[in-house]
Every structure is written in structure tokens, then in C-alpha cells.
Amino acid sequence: MAPRAGRLIAGVFVVPVLLLAGCGGGSSSSNTAPAADQGPQTGTINVLGSDNAETYAPVIKAFESANAGIKVNYSQVPFDQFNSTLQQRLGAKDSTIDVYTVDQPRVSQLAAKGFLVDLTDLDAKTKAATSQASYDANHFRDKLWSLPMWNSTQFLFYNKSALKKAGVTPPTTDPEQRWTWEQVATAGKKAQQAGGTKYGLLLEQAEAYYQLQPLAESLGGGSGITGPDALTPAVTTDGWKKAMSWYGGTFASGLSPRGIGGFQTGPVFSNGNVAFFVGGPWDIGVFSSAKVDWGIAPMPYFEGGKPVTPTGSWSLGINPASKQQGMARKFIEFATLDTAGNLATTEATTIIPANTKSEAQYLPRLEKLAGSKSTGAAEIVSYEASKTAVGRPVSVGYIQFEEVMGKAFADIRNGTDAASRLETATSQLNEAWKSIK
């Protein structure tokens, strides 16, 4: 038996080690100036993103017909695994990724790790093409690292027939008449009791910082990150504690369902199982074909607090390990800075283009997308962008922040006491950020 043990043990030892091999850590040197070698003029470039391939089909088609000899191959990695997959492949200097989609709050860390090509020579062009917020979101240490493709906001969708059955007058599209979360909870409960829907309220990304930051910000809780280098956690403020205990309560009371995660949430609304649903512009397109009769209103805020809505979305960046950076630049410029190109990225999936000229052409289309149901959407988008939008914090520690907070939100959703869980998150953040400082 002894020799057996020896071999087995050797086997045991190497398996987990293999998992981490081949992915040497990212170098911390920042990339300066575009590489001298731009690679071939024609060929196939690889684009990696988290959306389905249909989303990019129109822009790829338009780009390919405008640039003979360049083909674009898009691959999708599901959102849940996207960031870790990127971390893994970029860390291994994988040259088979030329262009990838960049979640805007992650720009700083990706740039600091040397995972993005410096695009500062496109600075003036970018500034002219997009809003100030979008322009800022793609900068880190005064350099431009990615080009803004999309923008976002959130709406409150409601199930018209369920509210009618419960005798509730639905909210209007007027941002000045915006409902409070307390009103939504009461009305949602009524709809549940009247038997109209199984649940009262559901947030599309129920465990994501993007959608939950506005809750804390509405109560003056701040973004959760402070300090001169934006590496000090601040998630135990009164605003955060109050917002999160309210949020945990919506699951404890059965107003919201537990255990339905990620992107399984949309169908709960389109199948008529929830009275209120907080979601993005993309849902207007998705829900337009739903059998449920629905309406749209601005995202709620807390009573006594101020209205705050999320913003920001995906940008496009270039992998420094790419051997085809010339073609890659052509593609990302086309998909973001070119009016028609940027508009094409929003053709298949409903999302707000970041290019200001494209947005002007896009909003009337959004307004009509779901007939009378989406009337008022364009007005809400413009209002939120100028008055209530608060971006996610810019910090090199954002990636860790989002991961740690995501787990905290999941636990709070499943019944853990919010205040103590936020304390735990604070110490987890301090641990995680130790390796950055």
C-alpha cells in the first residue's frame, strides 16, 4: 500500500496547483503610448464580452462592410464569470483577446494592472463625442484607457393588471412625482394580498452593487468607499445600515423572493409573478413582447432621502498583449466614437448609446419601443442623467469592493443581520485591499 500512497499523494498535490499555474500575476507597470507595432492591416480580431452575440452582430456587420479585410469574432463569457475569466486570461497575457468590454468602475484597476492599452491620443475626440460623466469614467491617472460604448439608468416597471386588481393607482412617469421605496413596498404587499402576483417587488440584479448603491446613497450613506486613495471602506454608515436592513426586510417578509439570482429575475416580471420590478433600459426591449401589461416610472427613493439613480455601463478597451492593435483600435473607435457605429451597438439590445449624437437619435426609438407601455422612457432617461445619476466610485480597489459587497448583499438577502454583515464586509475589504496598498 505504501507506494500507492506515494503516487496518490503526488497526484493530489499537483491538481490544485495546476489550477493556478499559467496565470502569473499581472505586472504593475502601466502601459504607455500605443505600441509601435500595430500588427497586420487585415485579419480577424477577437472581441470578448458578457452580452450575447446578437447584441454585437449589427455593429460587427457594419464594421466589416466599412473595413474590407477585417473580420470580427465575438465570444461571450457569462456575466457571472466575466470578471474572473478576464483576470485569468489577461494575467496570462493571452494574445487571443484583442478587444474586451470594460465595466467602467473597473477601468482604474485594469489600467493599474497593465491590462489596458493607453488611448490618450483619442482624448479630444472622446471628450467631444460623449457626456462629461462618461468621459471621466474612462480615465485613470489623467489618461484615457477605454472608450465609452453605453450608458445606463434604472426604471421602476410595474404590472398594470396586478395593481388594478389590488386597487392601487400606479406611479406616473413624472420624476418630480417619483414614488418612495416605502410606497412601493406597501403597494407591492397589496398586490400580493389581492392575489395579483406571487411577489411584490424584485430588483433585477438583486445582489449587485450597481443597483443597491442608490439605496444607500438615497439615505446619504455614501458610495461605501472613502479616503484619499479611495481604499478605505465606509459601508457601515447610518445610510448603508438603514438601507440594507430595509432591503433585507423585503426578503424576510416575502415581499421579494430569495434564491432567484443573476439574470433569472426578468422572467419573474414578464411572467406576471411580481408587481414591481427595478430594471434597466434593456428590459424595455425584453418586456415589449411579454404578455403582461406593464408601465414604467422613475426609480424610487427613500422617504426623507434624495432621489439617486445608477449610471455608467460598458466601455471597450484593448488588451496590451494583442498582436493586432491597429485593427482593434479601428473597431473600438467605430463602435464608440462613430455615430452610426455606436448606434449599431444598441440595435439588438436596448441600451443607451454613450455617444451623444447617437443618443439623440436613439431616445425617440426607445420611447416607441414597447408602444404605449414605454411612453415617457426618454424623458426619464434625460432627467436622471442630468439630475440624479451617481456613478460608481473610482478606486483601484473597486474589483475587490464589488466582489466583497456582492457576497454581503447575498447574505443580507438570505436573512443575515445587515448591520453586522456590513461590519464583516468592512474587515473583509480591509483584508482584500491590503494586497493593493
Binding site: M1, A5, L19, Q109, D411, A432, I436, K437
Partner: protein, 324 residues
């Protein structure tokens, strides 16, 4: 990642066979030592044949393992840049980390429950399906079937079963049992994962035990039945002692594969709620790729290997004691 777990599972039986063959070869070699002296090139030829295997062994296993070990003594600052030697700093950081300690606790609890459970069920099923009964081969195939499904796909299937409005609760409702929270509760999440893993694993381990049981000479059983030994006694005094070798292999291989469980945790619970399913393998992944602290993750890999070695060594100790 899932496939790696799979490979380790499938790979182990092969690895255990190899030593025997090699052992015979060396004995044969010794016998003909005199002949070999006349052919000095033979050793070199043998080495040449072995070279591809040795190179891949070094390239794919030994070097990465070495890199992991070395990396675990360093740290890298994102803001300041540069690799800094910290000695055992990453290890002491880990040991001082409450999440890591909880993860070790969860992994040990999981190991203590899942392995005896899977092996007991696999053994009982193996005994059942080696009885000469109609349809036993058909039922046997059904039990083995889940092996054909990749672990990640199984996890997705079970995520639908475990959803609060999913199949699991609909089934319980038929039996008039109230709805259960499954993966969203700190008490039920780990057992839910154990059920899923057993659904996949039991059939696989059963295969080895069936082979072991079929190896028992029929005349022993015949002699026992002539002596009027009860079936229970036969199971206890004949079958169990005679399948001890395959059973030992199954115990060790199952333990190792369960210590490396990753896909279901990643897909179903992400280690939650409150870290109750945060098995070490997932914690390593999380530290390396979600948090991005590769060096501490390498240190944790080394500790995971250490935990695995201790458990496996302990198992061999116990089994060897039995042999004498």
C-alpha cells in the same frame, strides 16, 4: 476547472495500477542484470522512451507546483508595484483571516460527512446490484448515468431544483411537506450540495465496488450458504473484508475528489450564505481570480494540499493497521 476535478477522479485508478507494473519490470530487470551489462545502450533507450512522459511531468506538474510554492512566499503591491519577499507572511495572513479559518472548518465538516455517506451508499448499491435479480443491470446503469453529465451542468440542473419556486419544493408540496429554503439557508446549503455531489459521485464509486465484489470467488459464497450463513452475516464477514482493497482505493480517491469540489459551489452558492459552503478549493479560486490576490491564493493552495495530505496519510495509516 470542472474538468480538472474530473480528470483527477478518473486519473487516480490509473495511477494506482502503474506501480505494480513498474514493480514487475524492475524485478525482471534485476534477473537479467548480467545480460544487460553487455548492452550498455539499453538504459539510454529506455530513458529516451520515458523522456516525453518525464518532460510533461516536469512541465505540467512539478514546475507549476514549484512556482506555486515560491510564489506563496512573495507579495505584490498594485499601487507600489514590484514583487516583495514576505517569507511566511502570506501564510500568517491566511491563518489570521477569519474567512479562511471558517473555510477550513467548513471543508473538514464537509469531508467528514460526505465521504462516509457516499461510500456507504455506493457499497450498499454495489451489493444490491450484484445480486442476480431481474433488471439489476438496468438499474445499475441508471445509477451510473449522472457521471455522463459534466459537474457544471449537474449544478445548473440542481439550481433549478433548489430554487424556492423550483422542482424540489413542488415535489415536497406533493408530499404535503412545507417549502424548504435549500441553498438560501445557512443550515441547508451544505447538505444540499452534499446531496447533489452524491447524486453524481455514488454511481461512479459504486463501479469500483461492483468490480471488487465480482472478484470474490463464487465458491466462498457457496460454501457459506452450504454452512447456512445468513445473508447479513455473509455481507459482513465475507463481502466486506474481501472488497477491502477496492474500498480503500475508493475511500482515498473519493476524499481527494471531494476536497477539490469547485463547480457546484461556484454555480450554486458562491460560498454563501455566510460562508457556510465556502469550501477551500472555491476560496482559493475566489482569492486568486475574484479578489485578485494571487500570492495569498498560492499559499492557500499549499495549505489545501497539506490538509489533503494529512487526511490521506491518516487514512493510509488506518488501513495499513488493518492489514497486519
Amino acid at each position: 476547472m470542472d474538468s480538472t476535478g474530473e480528470v483527477s477522479r478518473v486519473g487516480n485508478p490509473m495511477r494506482t495500477r502503474q506501480p505494480r507494473r513498474l514493480g514487475k519490470a524492475t524485478k525482471a530487470g534485476r534477473a537479467t542484470k548480467a545480460d544487460r551489462a553487455g548492452q550498455p545502450g539499453q538504459g539510454r533507450v529506455a530513458l529516451l522512451f520515458l523522456l516525453p512522459a518525464l518532460i510533461s511531468l516536469a512541465l505540467l506538474r512539478l514546475i507549476p507546483a514549484g512556482v506555486a510554492l515560491v510564489d506563496s512566499f512573495f507579495t505584490e503591491s498594485l499601487l507600489r508595484g514590484g514583487r516583495v519577499f514576505v517569507g511566511l507572511g502570506n501564510y500568517s495572513d491566511l491563518l489570521g483571516n477569519a474567512d479562511f479559518r471558517k473555510s477550513v472548518g467548513v471543508t473538514l465538516l464537509f469531508t467528514v460527512i460526505v465521504n462516509p455517506l457516499q461510500i456507504a451508499v455506493a457499497f450498499l448499491l454495489a451489493v444490491l446490484y450484484t445480486q442476480r435479480a431481474t433488471g439489476s443491470k438496468f438499474w445499475r446503469s441508471l445509477v451510473i448515468l449522472p457521471i455522463a453529465v459534466p459537474p457544471a451542468v449537474s449544478a445548473v440542473i440542481w439550481s433549478v431544483i433548489y430554487r424556492p419556486d423550483g422542482l424540489g419544493n413542488s415535489f415536497l408540496d406533493l408530499l404535503k411537506i412545507p417549502a424548504q429554503p435549500f441553498l438560501t439557508s445557512t443550515e441547508q446549503a451544505l447538505p444540499s450540495i452534499i446531496v447533489l455531489l452524491s447524486w453524481i459521485g455514488v454511481g461512479y464509486w459504486m463501479l469500483f465496488l461492483i468490480a471488487g465484489i465480482n472478484d470474490i470467488p463464487d465458491d466462498i459464497h457457496e460454501a457459506a450458504s452450504l454452512d447456512g450463513v445468513s445473508p447479513w452475516r455473509r455481507l459482513w464477514s465475507i463481502t466486506l473484508p474481501l472488497v477491502r482493497r477496492p474500498l480503500a482505493f475508493v475511500l482515498v480517491a473519493d476524499t481527494v475528489s471531494n476536497l477539490l469540489v469547485f463547480a457546484p459551489v461556484q454555480i450554486l452558492t458562491k460560498g454563501g450564505p455566510n460562508g457556510t459552503t465556502n469550501l477551500m478549493m472555491y476560496d482559493v479560486y475566489n482569492r486568486a481570480y475574484a479578489i485578485g490576490d494571487l500570492h495569498t491564493a498560492q499559499a492557500e493552495v499549499i495549505l489545501l494540499v497539506a490538509v489533503t495530505l494529512i487526511i490521506v496519510a491518516l487514512q493510509f495509516r488506518l488501513l495499513r493497521g488493518d492489514d497486519r
